[in-house]
Symmetry: C2
Subunit: 350 residues, 2 copies
Amino acid sequence: MTEIPKNLTVGPSVGEAGEHRLIALIRSLVPPAPPWVSVGIGDDAAVVEPERNKLEVLTTDVIVEGVHFDRAFCDPEAIGFKALAVNLSDLAAMGAAPRVALLSLGLPAAWPVADLERLLRALLALATRHKLVLVGGNITRSPGPLFVDLTVTGTCKRRRILTRAGGRAGDALYVTGALGAAAAGLAWLKLHGPAAPPEGPVRDAVERFLRPEPRLRFGVIAGRTQAASACMDLSDGLADAVRQLAGASGLGATLEAGALPIHPGATEILGEPSQILGAALSGGEDYELLLAVPRRRLRRFLAVHRLTKLPVTRIGVLTAEPDLVLQHENRQEPLPAGFEHFGEGPVPRA
Amino acid sequence: MTEIPKNLTVGPSVGEAGEHRLIALIRSLVPPAPPWVSVGIGDDAAVVEPERNKLEVLTTDVIVEGVHFDRAFCDPEAIGFKALAVNLSDLAAMGAAPRVALLSLGLPAAWPVADLERLLRALLALATRHKLVLVGGNITRSPGPLFVDLTVTGTCKRRRILTRAGGRAGDALYVTGALGAAAAGLAWLKLHGPAAPPEGPVRDAVERFLRPEPRLRFGVIAGRTQAASACMDLSDGLADAVRQLAGASGLGATLEAGALPIHPGATEILGEPSQILGAALSGGEDYELLLAVPRRRLRRFLAVHRLTKLPVTRIGVLTAEPDLVLQHENRQEPLPAGFEHFGEGPVPRA
């Protein structure tokens, strides 16, 4: 490991430090690369040995200040964690095991180098935990918002990939974890700022917004064991995910409103039943997995649940009819739209 | 190919169109994927078959409005072209043949969809020309500048990779093309705005700034034939490239100021000899290649030059002495610094 450049971690802004010293800082924080990385950080490009007999999975996602996070209540650690977590969530949804990452940073010149270091340490800790290797990237000034753009790659055996398109009519729809936590956590932060939330469900919801744990182990095992026919993550909310997965599979879907596993923090923070349902369906950023499970695979699917100790809930079914229906106890309505990062979005305001 | 969504290409802003319709627009513009792409645009991640017996090369680079381009004099086509070209230039510097790209867009909500389409068409035309396949990406709102972030991958045979670290003392330093064109072209645009420059060297220089042709063929053939011991592109200027390549190889270097192939447009636009030399050394964004050529490989190297019809110029030598020296006719000085995207940088103002 390179030494951390002297006098860099306290005091100066990234603009004062300059590109080369920032790259030296990143190199000093990255753990030694495994032997299959032929060229790591510091050349024009990274060079790696592909994994034999595996398919390669690639995804990219960015988080932008003022759109995906607010520095007023997201500390640098949360920004670094989340930037990587949202990408790992995409790998999880494909059943792919993480391999390498490329990090592209757009930094306001006045941002403190010490905050960059905190962001990087959180990002790299999450990467290490998932055996992901940072092999390269890019760093530039941003005259506007801070943005953290990542590309991650993963690998998966042939015929073990989980796509959105494999669902069949009659497959049950399952979701991991609980819904509405991220939207409710964000609503709490908007109201209370960076104050520490009370312990319990509220803090859990805020944590779920700030540091969404990607469901990698669940996705990888579900893929390997072929326990699901289709999968997608809930980055833009459950309603959007159901719409996308059903659409890609050429099907419709019926969701049972009463079956949705509402996060207790969402109930406590939002209070109003319609707001709670809205957060669960369209709040976005829950980063749970939606999976279609054929009846004959249910036993395997529940084995994945037991192995990972991650709760799963049956919330509906894929239908040959192309309609997207939300079934209440005694009435039906069309499934609402998902979360749109382009608009203000339906994130509830507390 | 999907049809272009109706009523989308004229009139509305990207914010009005929304994420899903913009993704539909991108899908409609992307050519059909080759059979080795198992899952393309539209799932949580892309899935591709790796190329057998090849190393994989990965790089990422972003261009940001107000840092790398100005919408006042860069039309959407130039933005799209340049965003990809700077990434392909990194592959060229490694001797890697392009394979797939992931595109991450940060768009001001008020930006016209028609301009996005123009950007995409130019980007995709360049991709197709270099057999690069766009397999995925991401689109988000930016509350500040427009940014276009790309990750591209390429492939290369083992032991055919060109790194920065392979140079030996005594290797000659060569550069492709001509120097200072991009900085001079930018200076011209800052003075004259988007008016069409006069035909000839000035227009060539402006074109070189707006649409830098990546030296892919040269890099790939130089790598395949092992015609060079080390290589790097000139994204941050010649002085920076020489410093990086010599440093990575554990060497110093001497450059002959009088040997630098100055672009005639730089001479015409900048006039002052010191400004011209500054643009050639530290202007940045020339996206030519710097190569170290061992004496016994010179014949091969010149064969690459003849095959690609790209001019090459011997500009100096790698030295065992670690100093970085700029040799004038009758005096020496230390090599100046390169271009820094974090500061205002030494781009000359006309």
